[in-house]
Amino acid sequence: DRTISRVKLLDTIVDTFLQKLVAPRSFERFTNCYQHFQELAPGVTRSVYDKFVAQLQTSIREEISEIKEEGNLEAVLNSLDKIVEEGKAHGEPAWRPSGIPEKDLCSAMAPYFLQQRDTLCRRVRKQEAKNQELADAVLAGRRQVEELQQQVQALQQTWQALHREQKELLSVLRAP
């Protein structure tokens, strides 16, 4: 019955163990082993046996308490109860370590690497958009430079033509 807590189960199992250990008929055994003493002092035998049972059960129970104390077993078992309770809906067998640490670590690290990938994706996209704007600006700038160059060229040609005519004028003026 899974509703019993592990701590309770442990105590119950130990109690059952203790009861069965000194179950009825062990007194008969006791008297059978200490037969002469039993004949000599039956009352004492009974009380020695009762003390034996009481002492054994007490010291074993104290031992269990010590072990619980030592390993903080109650808290650990209660937390295990909680984990089992939370996971009980999970039907099929759960994951277990494969024995290959590199393999098992993948799932542990994946979320962080997925996050890094998403961050990088965002940054690349942002940079690409920024570069697209810059590229547009560069193309526009190239067009402007071209226009300016054409303007300068046109003016340059005009003035050069002018210069040629100027020369012609001089030649005309100098003519004898």
């Binding site: 370590p97 640490p101 098992d104 542990a108 690290m109 962080y112 996050q115 890094q116």
Partner: protein
């Protein structure tokens, strides 16, 4: 054998967290 089991089990419990700490540190450093 028992010590080996406990040793491996303890590593399985602790190391992923410690490795993750340094992985996160590394990723942060790369990010910066």
């Amino acid at each position: 054998f028992d010590e080996l089991i406990v040793d491996v089990a303890t590593k399985r419990r602790q190391y992923p967290r410690r490795i993750l700490e340094s992985v996160i540190k590394t990723l942060k450093a790369q990010h910066e």
